[in-house]
């Protein structure tokens, strides 16, 4: 029963989603199914919160290596939770100026918004900015010309890098009027528009068929491993 009911729900929701693509009359049902998922996901936040609290409290109480980080995490988690729930510093909504807590929790002037703007945003931006260094180190390893294929990859990457930058225009701009396709930006466009697109589309076709097969396996109950079961 523990497996059968989730399987039944997954199958019904899946079939409704598929049929609604072709039958507009079932659009309501599809939207309802999506809504149910959102409700489930919202309820699951409680489980997520409990998981964070439980795991980090245990680490702190056991004085495990790095328990200080857990303490910081717990402090940040509880502070944000309380500030958000109590809407600390949030002005009342202009529509209901006399009603306390009528303003949205992310309103400008609230402590939650302040924490987001001054903590989450800069930290996120910092993490994202580090991507450039990861790209550089990955490119250094990927473009080593160890064999013919790696050499081709290196050559192609060299053309794309130059073609996508102003250097490409500067280096080959002098014959751009006569042979526009043979300039670095022109070659870049050909590589990206023909070879790269062809490869991407081939992958996309495989992915689409894989999605169909995986969906069918789930809808027909052939694969139940996502529910903790093995197969049919």
């Amino acid at each position: 029963m523990k497996r059968t009911i989730p399987l039944f729900i997954a199958a019904v929701a899946g079939y409704v989603m598929v049929i609604a693509i072709f039958v507009p009359r079932l659009t309501d049902w599809r939207e309802d199914a999506e809504l149910w998922f959102n409700i489930l996901a919202a309820v699951a936040f409680v489980l997520g919160g409990a998981s964070i609290l439980g795991m980090h409290l245990k680490r702190v109480s056991d004085r495990r290596a790095g328990w200080g980080y857990s303490l910081v995490t717990l402090g940040a988690f509880l502070t944000t939770l309380i500030v958000g729930l109590l809407k600390v510093g949030v002005p009342p909504s202009p529509d209901h100026p006399t009603v306390a807590w009528s303003g949205a929790y992310e309103t400008e002037g609230g402590v939650f918004k302040w924490i987001f703007d001054n903590s989450i945003l800069p930290i996120t931006a910092t993490m994202f900015a580090m991507l450039a260094f990861y790209v550089a180190s990955a490119a250094f390893r990927a473009f080593r010309a160890k064999n013919l294929e790696a050499g081709l990859l290196l050559g192609t990457a060299f053309i794309i890098l130059l073609g996508r930058s102003y250097a490409g225009t500067m280096l080959t701009g002098w014959y751009a009027d006569a042979y526009p396709r043979l300039t670095l930006p022109g070659l870049t466009d050909i590589i990206m528009g023909v070879f790269n697109t062809a490869g991407q589309r081939a992958i996309m076709i495989g992915i689409a068929l894989g999605v169909v097969a995986t969906s069918l396996k789930i809808l027909l109950g052939i694969d139940r491993s996502y529910l903790g079961g093995r197969g049919s």
Binding site: F22, G48, V212, G231
Partner: protein, 423 residues
């Protein structure tokens, strides 16, 4: 003294009285002048002519939430000609039974003669009125649609997908057919996938080194097929880890994924005969925030130095950060995703990458169950259909380009937009 005398103008009491009267009357005079000017302007500029013939149509393939409104342009809407005044049209909609109009759009440029109204609440009759708006803000009288209103009907079948349906059914038929063959005991040959062959090797390595296994199921929720595919692979990895007595950790960025991963691992440990070794802390929630999740994972990798890292699910900008960090700690890495843009990053930094369909084939491949392997053969049939359509399309497009034939070009477009598209 002389300077002050020079500016000292002597005035009589009558003159002062007259000046005060003028000052007092000045505002009234200004208002009167403004009114006169406005009157003159009203006389000079005729009122803006309204648009006409407002019609409402129900678009095809309607799900009951769309209407299209058409109208004839205002006589004052003549772009490029003298007397052109209309800047835009204001579209207002009302429930026919209530009649309270509200603006729903103002399509530009002014020469647009239709408006597609979407996401309407179902089961209501609507009336529309169109108002021409001039550059100076002047508005015409509204032009009304039929007062009875029009209710969007819900069509039974979306004809734009008339080709998509049989193609989908055909692919599904082949998949089900091969599953049936597999159930009958027919042997199906599946090529080896290096990335999946390496799963056991990676788990074994982690066991030998006494280090944990890190499994990352992507950053999306359980409603994404990639996450589901990742969790199905986790079932196999979890079982292998249980058999080898290796430690596995599954930090998730979604609470539902954490729950699903716990269920999967619990069953995997049970199937391996090691239910005692399972505990809920193997899978835990970190954060929904993309880079917060990345920060945790990279920190975990650097501190705990897992011997094997699996990235199987939906990944975006974080793919390279994770794979590069894993590479720097010398972990054996297996990645799989259906995000084509992230595949090059995984290929560059991981030992094995499951590209596109291989990722979805993993569950069937690892399980080794004939029925699941049958779905892989069914996919091959789908590829043949795709290849046939591809060859026909290329031949048609090439022939249309070489001959300049309009019929061939039309046939190519039909294939592109009707058979393979949804127009």
């Amino acid at each position: 003294m002389e300077t002050s005398k020079r500016f000292n103008v002597r005035t009589s009491p009558c003159m002062r009285l007259a000046a005060v009267c003028v000052l007092l009357l000045m505002p009234a005079m200004v208002c009167a002048q403004d009114a006169a000017d406005q009157q003159a302007a009203d006389i000079d500029v005729p009122p803006l002519a309204p648009p006409s013939n407002v019609r409402i149509e129900i678009p095809p393939n309607n799900d009951g939430t769309q209407l299209k409104v058409f109208w004839n342009l205002s006589p004052d809407d003549r772009p490029g000609e003298p007397g052109h005044r209309v800047k835009e049209y204001r579209i207002e909609r009302a429930d026919a039974a209530i009649g309270e109009f509200a603006s729903v759009g103002n399509p530009q440029p002014s020469t647009v003669m239709e408006f597609h109204d979407r996401k309407l609440p179902r089961g209501v009759s609507y009336v529309y009125r169109i108002i021409a708006v001039a550059e100076d803000g002047a508005r015409s009288q509204p032009a009304m649609s039929d007062a009875a209103g029009v209710r969007p009907t819900i069509h039974l079948f979306d004809t734009r997908r008339a080709w998509f349906l049989p193609l989908t059914l055909l692919v599904c038929f082949w998949i089900v057919y091969f599953v049936y063959l597999a159930r009958k005991g027919v042997q199906l040959k599946i090529r080896k996938i290096a990335g999946l062959e390496a799963v056991d090797e990676a788990v074994g390595r982690a066991t030998e080194m006494g280090r944990p296994i890190l499994f990352v199921p992507g950053i999306q929720d359980m409603n994404q097929i990639q996450t589901v595919a990742g969790i199905t692979i986790l079932a196999h990895i979890g079982r292998t880890a249980a058999e080898y007595d290796a430690k596995i950790e599954v930090p998730t960025s979604r609470s539902l994924v954490m729950t699903a991963a716990r269920e999967t691992l619990e069953s995997a440990y049970l199937a391996a005969g090691r239910p005692d070794a399972y505990h809920d802390d193997m899978s835990y929630y970190v954060t929904d925030e993309q880079f917060g999740y990345v920060a945790y994972l990279t920190g975990y990798m650097v501190r705990q130095k897992p011997a094997a890292c699996f990235y199987l699910g939906a990944f975006f900008a974080e793919s390279l950060m994770l794979a590069e960090t894993g590479n720097s700690i010398g972990a054996i890495q297996v990645a799989g995703t259906a995000e084509p843009a992230q595949l090059p990053f995984f290929v560059a930094a991981c030992d094995y990458t499951l590209i596109g369909e291989e990722f979805f084939a993993a569950s069937a491949y690892l399980s080794g169950e004939p029925e699941q392997l049958g779905t892989l053969k069914g996919q091959d049939a789908g590829k043949i259909i795709g290849a046939i359509l591809l060859v026909i399309g290329c031949a048609l497009a090439t022939a249309a380009s070489v001959t300049g034939s309009e019929q061939l070009a039309a046939a190519t477009n039909y294939l592109r937009f009707n058979v393979l598209g949804s127009e």
